[in-house]
């Protein structure tokens, strides 16, 4: 894995307007994404994962709006400050999306071929019709679909095939960042695995960076290089995947891991007591403190910052000691 940065997100804040109040859905999130790596983002429903993904492509819809922060691509451009036309050009050519619920992500009345071609045409690559068609059949081949799919309509495809079309579509312009928002949540486990393999293959061939959003920890363990855990709009831990599973640092991560079944040991599965706080009335200090088994007094007052506790691990918790590598 190279250390070339594909996307650097700094202090990104996205809120939903609700009357007079602003609901902080993504609250001061910063992370780096390296070329060729796969960063998993996990969190409960409502923790801000999808809002983060959409905001990175500036596809968020009102009442969501971006309060501040930057998202800098490899070429130094900040996505958050691009004008409309530059943003349009950036989408898909630099950043592409594999959407949540791909079942309905394809236009039902347009052939697959044309849905792939219009992405190319929108970016004025000056390709000939023959070149575009060749590229489409090459991409379909790469995700394991026959050429004939190009002439088909979405309703003629199975769920797994549709998801493969979405993957082929996502790499049509060879972007440097691919955002996969729960790419397999609508598929059964067998298809899930194959689709995920395909996705990982094409990502490696392109050496693109990929953000995989989801709540399936098993899938993350198989696919992601690093894992970021979101809780109530904040990132609470970012770790390489192996050390995360072996030695989670944040109390929330620890509870998350102990709630997973393990083949090695038979034990009672522990849940996490309580539920995620309302974003409208976040607890003071650390948002996790009411559910945290080890919370101290300062957790109720000070908001912990995401800081390096190891050379490659960042955790937002007062109680985690920094250890020299």
């Amino acid at each position: 894995m190279s250390q070339e940065i594909a996307l650097q997100v700094n202090n990104l804040r996205v809120s939903y307007r609700a009357g007079e109040q602003a609901i902080p859905a993504v609250n001061d999130v910063s992370f780096s994404l390296y070329a060729g790596e796969r960063l998993g983002i996990v969190g409960e429903s409502g923790s801000g994962k999808t809002t983060l993904a959409l905001a990175l492509m500036r596809l968020h819809k009102p009442p969501a709006y971006i309060l501040g922060g930057e998202a800098i691509l490899g070429d130094g451009k900040d996505i958050m400050t691009l004008d409309r036309e530059a943003m349009r050009q950036t989408r898909w050519s630099r950043l592409s999306l594999i959407p949540q619920g791909s079942m309905n992500s394809l236009n039902p009345v347009v052939k697959v071929k044309h849905q792939m071609a219009d992405a190319i045409e929108a970016h004025e690559r000056g390709w000939t019709r023959a070149h575009i068609n060749k590229r489409i059949s090459e991409l379909l081949g790469r995700v394991g679909l026959p050429d004939s799919v190009a002439e088909m309509f979405p309703h003629e495809l199975s769920g797994g095939m549709k998801q493969r079309v979405c993957i082929a579509l996502a790499i049509v312009l060879e972007p440097s960042v691919i955002i996969a928002d729960e790419p397999t949540s609508a598929l059964d486990v067998v298809v899930q695995r194959v689709v995920m393999q395909t996705l990982n293959e094409v990502q490696q061939q392109l050496n693109a960076a990929m953000i995989i959003i989801g709540h399936d920890m098993g899938l993350m363990a198989q696919s992601a290089d690093r894992l970021a855990v979101m809780y109530a709009g904040k990132m609470v831990e970012v770790s390489p995947i192996r050390s995360f599973f072996h030695d989670p640092q944040h109390p929330y991560s620890q509870l998350l891991i102990s709630s997973l079944p393990s083949p090695e040991e038979q034990r009672e599965l522990a849940g996490i007591p309580g539920s995620q706080p309302s974003l409208l009335e976040l607890p003071s200090g650390c948002a996790f403190h009411p559910r945290c088994p080890v919370a101290e007094d300062r957790c109720k007052v000070d908001i912990p910052q995401l800081r390096f506790v190891r050379a490659d691990r960042r955790v937002a918790c007062h109680l985690v000691e920094e250890q020299p590598a």
Partner: protein
């Protein structure tokens, strides 16, 4: 069975049922057509009754085939109907019903079908714009305007328009399809005259129906805008124009097209009142006059013809629909 043959068989059944109803209903009504004519003749003092009258009645019954068994009458009626032989008009005897219909038809189609299609196109586009988030806010100020207009009956608006533009301002003719005294020809002057006569009736239909299309389109468009494929279209970096027409409108139009089929089918019957208000010599005007003069055969003919137009337009849309929506099998 293929989609096409299913549709065509369906069409055949509808036409057959319509013809049957057309045959049955007048025969279930009390009295008979000859009696009705006699009644009229007596009222005018033209008939005195007696044996001579009985003979005349019998002759006429034979002439119209009313002395035959019902089943024979039915078969004969069906054959005639299928040959588009709708019988003689009573008021304009010996004119045939179908020739009167064919003379009225171009006016109705020209006025009503064209204004319905314009209203559909304009209303759908406007409705789509109203739902589109990047439309200037000014467009949305028209929403209440459309709502009010779509609640106004078109004949009422027609009356208001006639009063204002024809009676008070005298800008446009009061009624008719062309100036009386001119002979229908295909030259520019006549065409302009027809257009001048068509403006007010067309406007009354346009203004009252455009709101219906706009509001319907706005509704489906809002639903389509929430679909995942719209997010993906935008993520692909497509231009606004491409997303609007190719993705949003393209899908939101589908239910609108179904409504258009029904609207076109009922165009002829539904706007009888417009033709009455404007004394426009179309099918509606024909029906109105036939009803007033108890011209049974004409009423029957017009009714059958209207069912036929509905069936034809539904058939046409059924045949076009698979091209618009590939999910409907051909």
């Amino acid at each position: 069975m293929s989609y096409l043959s299913r549709r065509i068989i369906m069409f055949g059944i509808v036409v057959l049922l319509a013809a049957t109803a057309n045959f049955a209903i007048p025969r279930m009504a009390p009295g008979d057509p000859i009696g009705a004519v006699l009644e009229e003749l007596r009222a005018r003092g033209a008939s005195t009754g007696g044996a001579a009258e009985q003979e005349i009645v019998a002759a006429y019954r034979a002439r119209f085939g009313l002395d035959q068994p019902v089943f024979t009458q039915y078969i004969r009626f069906l054959v005639n109907t299928l040959r588009f032989d709708l019988g003689y008009s009573i008021s304009y005897y010996p004119q045939k019903v179908e020739s009167a219909l064919l003379r009225a038809l171009p006016w109705t189609v020209g006025l009503l079908a064209i204004s319905t299609v314009i209203s559909f196109a304009f209303g759908s586009f406007f409705g789509a714009l109203m739902a589109w988030p990047r439309t200037p806010a000014a467009v949305n100020r028209f929403v209440p305007f459309f709502m009010v207009l779509s609640a106004v009956p078109y004949y009422l608006l027609g009356l208001i328009l006639v009063y204002l533009f024809a009676f008070v301002m005298r800008l446009l003719p009061l009624g008719g399809a062309y100036s009386s005294g001119t002979i229908p020809t295909l030259d520019i002057d006549f065409l302009l005259d027809v257009i001048r006569h068509g403006i007010l009736p067309a406007l009354s239909i346009l203004l009252t129906s455009v709101g219906f299309w706009a509001l319907g389109m706005r509704g489906t468009m809002v639903t389509v805008l929430g679909e995942d494929y719209l997010t993906l279209a935008e993520a692909k970096g497509l231009s606004d124009r491409r997303v609007f027409f190719g993705y949003a409108m393209r899908n939101a139009l589908l239910p609108q097209v179904t409504s258009l089929a029904i609207a076109l089918g009922t165009v002829a019957s539904g706007s009888v009142l417009v033709e009455v208000v404007f004394a426009y010599p179309g099918v509606g005007w024909l029906l109105y006059n036939a009803l007033r003069s108890s011209d049974y055969y004409m009423v029957q003919g017009v009714a059958f013809f209207l069912i036929l137009t509905v069936a034809v337009s539904v058939l046409v849309v059924d045949l076009i629909y698979p091209l618009l929506d590939p999910r409907i099998e051909r």
